[in-house]
Amino acid sequence: MNHPTPIEDAVLESLGTMRPGARGRIAHFEVSVDEGQDESLTDRLREVGFAENLEVEVLHQSPFGRDPIAVRVGKMTIALRRKEANIVKVHLV
């Protein structure tokens, strides 16, 4: 299929835009070239523990400016800034 159906598209969200309590499953990674990000960032995210199909949940956000966020990924908790978190695309549940 060439383009995803609107319904599928609607439930895909960037991790960096999610609020505490929001949960989902990692769909894929997509760096933003406009933001000056490159693929090595995806590798870094994978290295610290992000992977397709893992469950994620935003647990906390910084009291100051709501950034960074603390995310549960599989069995771990990882703190990262929203900008990098946006690379992770999530199927909400």
Partner: protein, 613 residues
Amino acid sequence: MSASTLVAVVGNPNCGKSALFNALTGLRQKVANYPGATVERRAGPLLGNDKLELIDLPGTYSLTPRSPDEAVTRDVILGQYEAEDRPKALLCVVDATNLEQHLRFIIELRGTGVPMVLALNMTDLAAREEIRIDADALSKRLGVPVVETVAVRRKGLEALQKTLDGVLAGARQSVVDFGISVKDHQRAARKIAADVTLSEGIGHKTTRMLDSVLLHSVIGPIILFSILFFMFQAVFAWAEAPMGWIEDGIALLQGAFEGILSDGLILSFLNDGILAGVGAVVVFLPQILILFAFILILESSGYMARAAFLMDRLMASVGLNGRAFIPLLSSFACAIPGIMAARTISDPKDRLTTILIAPLMTCSARLPVYAVIIAAFIPNTPVWGAIGLQGLVMFILYLAGIVFALIVAAVMKRTITKGEVQTFMLELPKYQPPHWRYVLVGLYERARIFMRRAGTMILSATIILWVLSSYPNPPAGATEPAITYSFVGIIGGWLEVIFSPIGFNWEISAALVPGMAAREVAVAALGTVYSLSGNEDMIAEGLVATLNNAWSLPTALSFLAWFVFAPQCLSTIAVAKRETGGWKWAIFMVGYLFVLAYLASFVTYRVSLALLG
């Protein structure tokens, strides 16, 4: 270098490599519950087999280094580290409670062809979380021997050694093809982990519960602030009694010497030189140990990474990232490990900035300086409930260090260390009750270092100062105390010209010179100088009472301001040079700190003179 066989300990950050290394070698590497505790390689012979040398390495997620500490690990594993041989085998460590994540790096390492043993560590935590792993199946799938261990309880060590010997003596391990990309390794790791995990476990509930409080957007920062505040109150309140005992002990010794020896050179050397000088510093051992106990407990509980998370936004506003908070908090203990810990920061410019501001964090060597002045000039009145004014002033001084560090960082990031906005990514480890063994070992190490400094650097500086303060002898018919005519008196007199605008008398000016070696030496030097000046208070009641009478309040405040900034520590300067790769930045650091110190003291002195009349 040597004939011994090298074995490197490798794995993801915070999986217990250093704890295992310590258990196997009997050494005392730093063990702490946050990623990035180890930043350097450290080698040591195996207990009971000194032909075998273990190398503890910084934890890393892959062979592609993201920061200087990770580069060390890669270089050692690949045999590119200075003149060192390539390790004959790897002792890989994984956290049994997070197998699927930790296996990825092990799979990448399998590609290097170096034989390995896998330590499945933290099996105690795994058992508590009801995770069950089939170690034999794991061994088969990876093609390497697997041993279950609990590093902190020394469990599984014998089996580990035996297996290691077997691997070193034995057959080549077959290479298994797991692919090359990070994604391939990740997929293979998850597949293997899923297949060998018999029971998934229930997770770590305590961590979730604690985080919901400690990372709460309102309560979290309040708790962080309260912890730091409480720490400084405790440093004052709890140390009072033991400090009294040490002071009494020193006075007792001085009295004993006076009883045995006749008045003369030797008595003066012992009482005015060594006891007044070194004693003035040794008195602070209890305070330093209390401060360290707090830091060690924070480090081993897992809270450090949370503090980094809470502080990231603030750090970002000055261009740094939350990770820098960990080295900076360690700098409260001593700037040197703080500067070293900056190796975990990936961006070279962020790292440089962190190194340059680390000396602004109030290290424990400043504690004696602050404490003497505070004890002499600040009444210990309760301000509010149990909060004492002295502890409050101490807290403000620490805060001043932090605030100025942030300001300096902000200025640097906009000028000389300008760069892209960097990322912040940090695993938040599970909370663990502090391991008392490591806290006690850490305290013991600290006490040892402190006493060694007192016995070497401070002692020799004090002796030199005593000699220079006792010679040349005063001319006949001199009216002033003899020290006024000595070298120290003369040099102090010259320096006073420079320092009188900021309110320093000649005694202070003279004490600053030996105080260049290390900050607490300044206190020792003041002890000696005032003792030799024949100051009655000094002999009767020690340094605190002396200063109270000899200095005006503006002078005391100016002196405190000076020590918030002054880079008076040769070892810090040397480490800054090494870590920044040359003199350029080290000299810059010294320069900017002295300029700030002088300015701050000048303003403090003038303003308080104007206000206090």
